[in-house]
Symmetry: C2
Subunit: 204 residues, 2 copies
């Protein structure tokens, strides 16, 4: 069935075109400020067409959401070859922060945007596996570190959540511009310094 496959591929092409436009506009303007009409205009189609490829704006969000998690996961996996668990854990943290600073809008969409996730909670739990697997990756590394004598007296799950929370806190305060107290050019530095402080605390 080569023909219908090509048809399908062509259909996918427009879908990809929409996604590319959305990604770019989200990147430039942010999620809320990007309208369906903006996207349509930038691909030179009528606004209505988008609803043939996506149920609504949330579904576009959701697609990029999943995509973002995949690429964060890949970034964090890139240090998985480090044998020492503690060293790997710290490298993972650094990767996480790098990802957030390099892709602030996508990160925003993944962890800080409001509406569409609630939709996810109630209707479909699937799709969140991406986020799940990042948590698991971190958790396994934490457990390994514990076997080597780190984190004595702490339990894996809360500790992992806490580590993730710290990483998220460090970058999200910056992304949402709650770092005004620092001079603008320092704002990235303070995130790195904060993480360094955290790293030092982990060691002890």
């Amino acid at each position: 069935m080569g023909i219908s496959e090509r048809k399908l591929r062509e259909k996918e092409q427009l879908k990809e075109l929409i996604l590319n436009a959305a990604r770019e506009l989200f990147f430039k303007e942010g999620y809320e400020k990007t309208s369906i009409r903006n996207i349509a205009e930038s691909i030179e189609y009528s606004p209505g067409i988008i609803y043939h490829y996506f149920k609504d704006k949330n579904e576009i969000f959701h697609t990029l959401h999943t995509e973002g998690f995949k690429s964060l996961k890949k970034k964090m996996e890139s240090v998985s070859s480090i044998a020492d668990p503690m060293g790997r854990l710290k490298a993972m943290g650094k990767s996480y922060i790098q990802f957030a600073i390099e892709n602030p809008i996508i990160y925003d969409l993944m962890f800080m945007l409001k509406a569409p996730v609630e939709h996810m909670v109630s209707e479909e739990v699937e799709g969140w596996e991406e986020g799940e697997s990042i948590f698991t990756m971190l958790k396994l590394t934490v457990r390994e570190a514990m076997l080597q004598g780190y984190f004595r007296g702490l339990s894996v799950e809360p500790l992992t959540y806490m580590i993730l929370a710290t990483l998220h806190g460090l970058v999200s305060l910056k992304i949402r511009k709650r770092t005004n107290r620092f001079k603008v050019n320092e704002s990235e530095q303070i995130v790195m310094n904060g993480y360094q402080a955290f790293s030092l605390m982990l060691d002890r």
Copy 2:
């Protein structure tokens, strides 16, 4: 000039009425979902009137933003009588988390909402003193703890930022519903457990 003062007071009254309605609606529906018309309807005035008392929706946001910081500050100050710096620091953290869990919408508005803060950055730095003073309060306590021998080898500023980031991360992941991996009733527990893990790490 008693009369014009009363007039002023009456004017303030409507302003307060608007704020109360806004607060309540924000609480019930969230910021974005609350429209100027909703607010107007709930106080039985026409929508236009709101613009006589507030420049725009951002200014309402800004007012509640400041108010939120004042009440968070008060909550954190309520443990300032604790003599032991480390004990006080941990109590402050707990207060912070309690505030966020008890007032998720206000907290959201204070730390996680997007648009209006940018406006703040460019035009007026004033109004942010509230946030500033919370940071300072935390910083002073951290410094005291350091004088007692804690946090050896760390610097005050990054450490304080890191602590604040961890607190923020813990509660904001919950507020923005990124804790789906846990059963719903566990979701508050995991925040507390995460904080406990953090507390234990601080001690060492």
